[in-house]
């Protein structure tokens, strides 16, 4: 004790009410660091805002569409010459057979409204989408009894007209465009004034199927959404049980030796393998060797499972590691077996982490495009909604990101808008999944 009292003046002699130089310096360093932190967050936020603004401003257009409402007389002499309503005969009339009906409908509308125009009936009808005839035909085949009557239809407008309504197309920009003329735009203006052409919300973009190069106005993301859904089901059904079982074994049961070390290193390596490698692997193994169908969501799901497994294993092992060892001791101490201690005590505590890891892995898989290109899940294939679970898994389909890539690749700027719209939908899914992950984690962690 004497050493302390002999050491001369006290070390902290100054008043507590004034800061000494050292404290002031430390405080300055701290506030500088806080400033850097705030700046970093500001930069991040700015980028996020730019991104969201861009996506929203470019993509919202895809959710509205220009429609033309017309009364069409389903003339019996053109659709059912024999008048016996035989469905097979009605089906023989191709979409070309319906074109005159549309021309007649638009001419009579023009006459009724008293619109002055020099356009031929054919040019007038050209403001409609090429899908209009098919829409009519589908309707007639579904309701043969309506033949002979006049029915009101809401047709999609041609993508140029739609672009004109959205400000993408102007009279200057179509100077070299053969598919539409300034006179047709004048005609559109007149129809808009009369309320025949309106722009309204387009549910078909969200639920509909992709359409061919010629009809961007009819393309929707719905079917590829189903493709994505089936792939996610495959991933969830395979990657979660395999990943969790592997992690539990490695973390809780496996002896710690060089073999498990090698396995551990390789799982980390696997997580770093570029996704396109998994794609070509899937092509070689699942399609060329196992002869699973090309472009099938089942194959896509298998490839994405390979990709997601390491993510799930790593996050599961991390959450198992985070469970305090004293809990394992406690369980073993009352005579629980290793397996009981894991399943009764460790796993429930690790579950929120496992769940979060799984959802984040799924979200990654949902946004993955590259491997799908290699197994042919891209191109104009998302054209029919599957009618059963089996066909959902096995019949050719696309996936949301692949569909977006496909649209972005096509020449027509109308598809470009749809690509942005698709990105909005994809991002809504991803944000929802990540939010669910956060909420689940909070909920389960707060239990005790």
């Amino acid at each position: 004790m004497t050493d302390i009292s002999q050491s001369g003046a006290p070390k902290h002699a100054s008043s507590l009410l004034s800061k000494d130089a050292r404290t002031a310096k430390r405080n300055r360093a701290e506030s500088r660091f806080k400033l850097y932190g705030i700046l970093a967050i500001a930069v991040g936020l700015l980028m996020l805002i730019t991104l969201v603004y861009n996506i929203v401003s470019r993509g919202t257009g895809a959710f509205t569409q220009t429609f033309v409402t017309l009364d069409v007389t389903l003339a019996e002499d053109k659709l059912d010459k024999n008048g016996n309503r035989n469905l097979d005969e009605i089906k023989k009339v191709s979409t070309f057979g319906y074109a005159p009906l549309i021309k007649d409908a638009i001419s009579s509308e023009v006459e009724k409204l008293g619109i002055q125009t020099d356009l031929s009936a054919k040019d007038q009808a050209a403001i409609l989408s090429k899908s209009a005839a098919a829409q009519l035909r589908d309707y007639v085949i579904a309701n043969p009894d309506k033949i002979g009557e006049t029915v009101q239809f809401r047709f999609l407008a041609n993508s140029r007209v739609d672009g004109y309504m959205k400000g993408r197309v102007s009279r200057e920009s179509i100077a070299n465009d053969k598919s539409i003329s300034p006179a047709q735009l004048d005609f559109v203006d007149q129809l808009v004034a009369d309320g025949v052409i309106v722009k309204s919300f387009n549910l078909d973009f969200i639920f509909g199927a992709d359409a061919s190069d010629q009809r961007p106005e009819a393309a929707g993301i719905g079917v590829s959404m189903i493709g994505s859904l089936f792939m996610m089901l495959v991933v969830l059904a395979l990657a979660l049980p395999i990943g969790v079982a592997a992690s539990i074994y490695l973390e809780e049961f496996a002896p710690k030796n060089w073999i498990t070390d090698i396995i551990e290193v390789n799982i980390s390596n696997l997580a770093a393998v570029p996704s396109i490698v998994f794609g070509i692997l899937g092509l070689a193994v699942f399609i060329n060797y196992m002869h699973l169908p090309m472009s099938a969501p089942l194959v896509g799901g298998l490839v994405l499972t390979l990709m997601t497994l390491p993510t799930i294993i790593i996050s599961t092992r991390a959450s198992l590691k985070a469970v305090p060892p004293s809990i394992r001791d406690a369980a073993l101490g009352v005579g629980a077996s290793k397996m009981q201690s894991v399943f009764h005590h460790v796993l429930p505590l690790a579950a929120p982490g496992i769940l979060t890891g799984t959802i984040i892995g799924l979200a990654q898989a949902l946004g993955e495009t590259a491997p799908l290109l290699l197994i042919g899940m891209v191109g104009f294939i998302a054209s029919n909604a599957p009618d059963s679970v089996a066909s959902g898994l096995l019949s050719p389909n696309s996936a949301m990101p692949a569909q977006i890539y496909e649209w972005a690749k096509r020449a027509d700027p109308a598809f470009y808008e749809r690509a942005w719209g698709g990105i909005i939908i994809l991002l809504i899914f991803l944000v929802t999944m990540n939010t669910v992950a956060v909420i689940l984690r909070r909920r389960f962690e707060r239990r005790w």
Binding site: I327, A330, G335, Q340, H344
Partner: protein, 265 residues
């Protein structure tokens, strides 16, 4: 210190429950237990004392093979429970731990309700036929753990929400709920106030009627109060083992004497 005067205590010299001979424990390169030979009697309380880091916990954990869970730990020598080698290849440590229960140095309740904490052991060992019997076991165990009055109105509350001392008593209740034949207690009272300590000591005394209890403690007074036999460990060696009264009043080894009089520690 007048507890130490209780030399006249009745010592039940029942036959040995656990016989350890030539026990060596290594943690990797650390030689934590060196050649320990000790007989732990049935229906007796044996206290392990010694300075921090001398291997008391390590040796205690050998007795129910909790050291198996530590990868780097190697145990050599013989430990017999009722004449059977517990390190025999045919022994399932799970069965052993049902017989030899343990209360750990740090309280470690399950993050479950108080009820489930106590009911867990009886459930996995099938000790209760129905809910009523289980309720009874839980109540009896909590009473023996000297915590019943504090928790009887909130058996559904999480065990981890209790104070440190309450958690430790819950862990004691959990350990006695499985009706072990030997109870190993690693500093069970280090987080308890004097009242709870007295209750736990009373429990230990009561358990002695049927079981064998081994308790690690840093409190000489406690060792003197509750135990019949005392083992003094120092740097991994069992320096002295004998009647508690004799160890505290007439130690044979100078190291024991220095320790109990507070000169080394």
């Amino acid at each position: 210190m007048n507890d130490m005067a209780r030399v006249e205590r009745v010592v039940d010299t029942g036959q040995a429950k656990i016989t350890a001979s030539d026990v060596q424990v290594h943690y990797g390169d650390t030689h934590a237990i060196k050649d320990v030979n000790v007989n732990i009697g049935d229906k007796t309380v044996t206290a392990f004392i010694g300075p921090s880091g001398c291997g008391k916990s390590t040796f205690l954990r050998c007795l129910n093979r909790m050291n198996d869970t530590i990868d780097v730990c190697r145990v050599k020598g013989n430990i017999l429970l009722d004449g059977e080698d517990i390190y025999d290849k045919r022994v399932d440590p799970v069965q052993l731990r049902a017989k030899v229960g343990m209360v750990f140095q740090k309280p470690n309740p399950f993050p479950k309700s108080i009820y489930d904490n106590v009911a867990y052991g009886p459930r996995i060992h099938g000790l209760a036929k129905n809910k009523a019997e289980l309720d009874e076991i839980v109540e009896k165990s909590l009473r023996r753990g000297a915590i019943w009055n504090e928790v009887k109105d909130r058996l559904d509350a999480p065990g981890t929400g209790l104070s440190g001392g309450q958690q430790q008593r819950l862990c004691i209740a959990r350990a006695v709920a499985t009706e072990p034949e030997v109870l190993l207690m690693d500093e069970p009272c280090s987080a308890l106030d004097p009242i709870a300590t007295a209750q736990v000591e009373e429990l230990i005394d009561e358990l002695r009627q049927r079981y064998s209890v081994v308790i690690v403690t840093h409190s000489m007074q406690q060792a003197a109060r509750v135990s019949q036999k005392t083992a003094f460990f120092h740097l991994g060696n069992l320096v002295e083992f004998g009647e508690t009264g004799q160890i505290f009043t007439n130690p044979q080894d100078p190291r024991t004497e220095s320790y109990i009089t507070g000169r080394i520690g």
